[in-house]
């Protein structure tokens, strides 16, 4: 299973973390620091797998972001690379040519998308279309709820004027 997902920028800033195994806050920051050190210093031509503390960490660099996933020894690393790519493609479709800034300002949406792809460290949906559809549906729910809220508060505001 995937133990955690980490998105780090080239400068070492954390853009997204998702933990599927129990790690305390302290452990989390320690892990992040360690892995940043290891991965950010690797050269471009080296293979995308690193052995770390008995686990394997699969990482891929997209523009200025490193997408890292930590998996067990018996998992298929090439498949994890595919999963990372799957996620990135969906993000791309959703945001339309996604860049790091999109992920910074809309981190919650990035999380929602990740939640549609992975649960409990396992792959949930292999079809990009389905994921996109689901996210779209949930977004529209949010929109309608907001509209309702704003219209109600308008009414109340007017009523109590």
């Amino acid at each position: 299973m995937i133990h955690f997902v980490l998105l780090i920028s080239r400068q070492g800033k954390v853009r997204l973390t998702k933990w599927y195994s129990p790690y305390t806050q302290k452990e989390r920051s320690k892990v992040i620091r360690e892995l940043s050190g290891v991965i950010l210093t690797r050269g471009p031509k080296l293979c995308n797998f690193v052995e770390w503390r008995g686990y394997k960490v699969v990482y891929k660099r997209y523009a200025s972001l490193y997408f890292c996933m930590c998996v067990d020894q018996e998992d298929n690393e090439l498949e994890i690379l595919e999963i990372i790519h799957h996620y990135v493609e969906i993000l791309d479709r959703y945001f339309g040519s996604v860049c790091e800034l999109d992920l910074i300002f809309n981190f919650h949406k990035a999380y929602y998308i990740l939640d549609e792809i992975l649960i409990a460290g396992e792959l949930q949906e292999s079809s990009k279309k389905t994921v996109a559809r689901l996210i779209a549906a949930q977004d529209s729910l949010v929109e309608t709820a907001k509209e309702q809220a704003s219209s109600i508060s308008n009414i109340i505001a007017q009523a109590t004027k």
Binding site: S29, E79, E82, I119, L123, Q124, E125, S126, L141, A145
Partner: protein, 858 residues
């Protein structure tokens, strides 16, 4: 807010902004502000991602989850998953909300709940909510079903007992058409099978298995489906999941494996491997083939695929291939051997991960037939490899060479090369082993020492090489100079005596030589001074330079050796004669039992040589017992467990000063083992002492030798005596006379104890001792009590004393008779520990001593 944080230029500024925001959020929480709750939560999460503490927001998350609107719930659950983990108690409060949400009409909310549950539920929550999740496994909406499946996985992992409940619903999931549900269903089944064997049996039934195989076949053969297509392959994820499940089901079960053979062959041959997706599938396929029951054809297929992977330019693929090959070796070593050349290439790769894997693989591939070329390659590479890798590489090469070396000369050659290149990375045991081997290869001594001499000229910074070299030069220096035992393959070389001494001198003086090396060098110099008498003076000079060394070990050796060289030429040669062959079998046996590495040899490592023990030559103590030569007269006490085992001795040093009332305390309060102490003897009449008592001991040990050399019994008898550290009671051996001289057993400033001996007729083992105590001080001693203790092989009987008041100034004396029976009569002399207690002016005084100077043959 995010913009303002990003606008901050310095960390301090950022902290200030964050603090302000946190304060605002906290205020809003206190006011229970509904409207902006979700925005506040979002801000909180961002702040959390930056690394600031956000515990105050946890209750907010809960409230958000509990509220009715979808956006709030969404943010609430996200916050929950981010800010909390399963170990926090706050999580329990969410259980109720989760339960309600799982039964919600809005399927997206159900989805949220399942997601949250799947990611962070704890064991108790899992137990509570399992029935809900089970129900949802059969929900009409596939979206919910797949989430429920993954959630169940987590539940099963947390609470394995519940696995049985999920077997049937999971089986139903396997027949799905929707890929998402199918994937998650398969994953669920895989995990159930890992947890519960009964489930494994259930799913191995041909009905299920055939269904799976059919599904896989459908997917492999399916036409182009845009929704699931990745790189031309329909849903590679599904492929891989199915293969994984087949792996689990087929492992250990021949029938199941048979069912799968065809489809595995199809996948292996048909899948395109120019894209990562294809390679991922092939990798999984190979993994599956390797784990299921034997099928020769499939295995060959698999290994061929791996071979192809190995030559792929993509680093990832090669890494993965190396990984698989390591597992494949156990299955089919022959096939893997074919790829040896490629693997060797990988050892030299630029990528560190690949190098490591390749090295491990090469190590597994080594056998007697290919060890020579492989080692050659690896050693060549050693020269150009970088530092972090050298350690690993060296260790592997050394163990390879040791295990598989066909003959000694090759072994020595390789080890010399390794030492020259990377001696600093070589562990101690390795060069110890090398020395053992060298000493065993007696025909190669000349060759070895010459090779070492040449090597040291070039690679003086390699510590281990230098150590081995000095040891050899010390031992076999004469062979070096006189060109003894030249083999045809050698180039001629002339080495003069002073050249040899040069090497050792450089070793001593070199700045990077550590204490071990220097100590070994001193010993080597001593040996050389005996073998090359012409250089004696020069050697003495070198030795003497360390007289003032700050390190005790070096200082001690320097002084001792100096005195040997100066004053004791006659025994010098015997001291440093050729070391006996080190017993290889014992050594390797001991080493396997992981005794301290100082076991077999050389001097060097024991810096904890306690004060007071001479150690002229570093013979392994195991061989002292069957010595044929005369070196190592005084057994060294290196605190070695090994020694203890062998000689049954409690080796501890004794800095015994003659005439002092100090018993050899060094750890032996065991009065019974007195004699086995390898302590140099007490000489009442020893020469004026140097600063170190050690040289005193040395001299006395030398005195032994002097005393004994006229003795006809050179060999075994004297050896055993030496081992026991025994010394004659006087330099003039009066051993064999029937009249036993009386001895002054104990002498202090205030008390003298003399023993007179006699033997009762008929029983040579028993001795009657008349003990006389005389008071030298002007005070009267009262309550005078004499106690004695003897080692195990002696029996002591004390008769009552004549009195217990000792008049002053020798005006009278107390006598006491002791009867001693020596069960080792003739073999071991008497030794006794004494304790004298008396009252002086009503003050208790205690004097202890050891009597070692009993006449022999008592």
């Amino acid at each position: 807010m995010i913009r303002s944080i990003r606008a901050c230029k310095t960390a301090a500024e950022e902290r200030a902004v964050v603090r302000k925001e946190c304060a605002a959020i906290r205020a809003a929480i206190n006011e229970n502000d509904q409207d902006y709750r979700h925005r506040n939560l979002a801000k909180l999460m961002f702040i959390h991602m930056l690394g600031y503490p956000t515990h105050f927001g946890q209750m907010e998350c809960l409230k958000s989850i509990a509220s009715a609107g979808f956006p709030e719930k969404r943010i609430g659950y996200l916050g929950l998953m981010l800010l909390l983990d399963e170990r926090q108690e706050v999580l329990m409060l969410v259980t109720n909300s989760l339960k309600q949400d799982l039964n919600h009409t809005n399927q997206y909310i159900v989805g949220l709940a399942l997601c949250a549950l799947g990611n962070i539920c704890s064991a108790e929550m899992a137990r509570d909510l399992a029935p809900e999740v089970e129900r949802l496994l059969q929900f009409r909406d596939p979206n919910i079903r797949k989430k429920a499946a993954l959630c169940s996985i987590r539940i099963i992992k947390k609470v394995p007992d519940l696995a049985e409940n999920f077997i049937n619903p999971a089986a139903a999931l396997l027949k799905e058409k929707h890929h998402g549900v199918l994937i998650t269903g398969i994953q669920l089944v895989t995990d159930i099978c890992k947890v519960s064997t009964e489930a494994l049996e259930f799913f191995r039934k041909p009905k299920c298995l055939d269904g799976l195989v059919k599904t896989l076949r459908d997917v492999v053969n399916s036409p182009y489906a845009p929704e699931y297509d990745i790189a031309g392959i329909t849903d590679p994820f599904l492929h891989i999941r199915l293969l994984k499940l087949l792996h689990v089901l087929g492992q250990g079960d021949a029938d199941a494996s048979d069912c799968m053979n065809d489809i595995l062959a199809q996948v292996a041959t048909k899948t395109e491997s120019n894209k990562n997706a294809g390679n991922a599938i092939l990798y999984e396929c190979v993994e599956t083939i390797m784990s299921i029951e034997d099928n020769g054809g499939l295995r060959v297929l698999a290994i061929n695929i791996l071979g192809r992977f190995l030559s792929n330019r993509d680093n990832n693929i090669r890494y993965v291939a190396l990984n698989m090959l390591m597992k494949a070796i156990t299955v089919d070593a022959q096939a893997v051997q074919r790829h040896r050349a490629t693997i060797l290439e990988c050892v030299k790769d630029l990528d560190a991960s690949i190098r490591k894997r390749a090295l491990e693989l090469v190590y597994l591939l080594v056998n007697e037939s290919n060890v020579k070329p492989l080692t050659k390659e690896l050693i060549d590479y050693l020269e150009i490899s970088d530092q972090e890798f050298k350690g690993d590489l060296t260790a592997k090469i050394c163990s390879m060479v040791e295990k598989f070396s066909p003959d000694k000369i090759w072994y020595i050659d390789q080890m010399l090369k390794v030492l020259s290149e990377a001696g600093n990375f070589v562990k101690d045991e390795v060069w110890h082993a090398l020395i053992v081997v060298i000493s065993n290869a007696s025909d190669l001594h000349g060759y070895t020492v010459r090779a070492l001499y040449r090597a040291v000229q070039t690679s003086i910074e390699q510590e281990s090489l230098v150590r081995v070299a000095i040891w050899c030069i010390g031992e076999y220096g004469d062979m070096l100079v006189n060109n003894v035992g030249v083999l045809n393959i050698e180039d001629p070389i002339t080495v003069t005596e002073s050249d040899a001494v040069d090497v050792v001198e450089i070793a001593i003086k070199h700045h990077s030589s550590d204490i071990t090396t220097k100590a070994m060098a001193m010993v080597a110099l001593l040996k050389l001074s005996s073998r090359f008498p012409s250089c004696s003076e020069r050697i003495r000079d070198i030795i003497v330079q360390n007289k003032g060394s700050l390190v005790l070990e070096l200082q001690q050796r320097s002084i001792e050796f100096n005195s040997i060289v100066e004053k004791h030429q006659n025994i010098r040669s015997t001291l440093v004669e050729r070391m006996p062959v080190l017993d290889e079998a014992t050594f390797s046996g001991r080493r396997a039992g992981s005794l301290p590495a100082t076991v077999s040899t050389s001097s060097g490592t024991s810096l904890n040589l306690p004060n007071g023990v001479a150690k002229p030559a570093a013979a392994p103590l195991v061989d002292l017992l069957d010595l044929s030569s005369d070196d190592a007269p005084v057994p060294s006490s290196s605190g070695n467990d090994f020694l203890q085992d062998l000689l049954g001795v409690d080796v501890s040093p004794a800095s015994v000063q003659p005439g002092t009332s100090q018993a050899p305390k060094a750890g032996t309060d065991v009065l019974l083992d007195l004699l086995s102490i390898g302590s140099p003897p007490v000489q009442n009449n020893s020469t004026p002492s140097d600063i170190l008592s050690s040289s005193q001991d040395n001299k006395s040990s030398v005195a032994i030798l002097d005393g004994l050399s006229p003795a006809p019994s050179g060999g075994a008898a004297s050896m055993i005596d030496l081992l026991d550290g025994f010394v004659p009671n006087s330099p003039k051996p009066e051993d064999n006379g029937p009249a036993y001289p009386s001895i002054v057993a104990f002498e202090s400033s205030s008390l003298i104890l003399t023993f007179n001996f006699s033997k009762p007729p008929g029983n040579p083992q028993t001795t009657l001792i008349q003990a006389t105590f005389t008071n030298l001080s002007p005070n009267v001693y009262t309550d005078f009590v004499f106690q004695a203790a003897v080692p195990k092989f002696l029996q002591l009987h004390l008769d009552p004393a004549s009195g217990n008041t000792l008049p002053a100034s020798g005006n009278g004396s107390i006598t006491q008779t002791l009867r001693v029976t020596n069960s080792q009569h003739g073999k071991k002399p008497l030794v006794m520990r004494t304790r004298i207690a008396y009252k002086l002016n009503n003050r208790d005084v205690l004097e202890e001593g050891q009597i070692n100077n009993f006449p022999r043959d008592l």
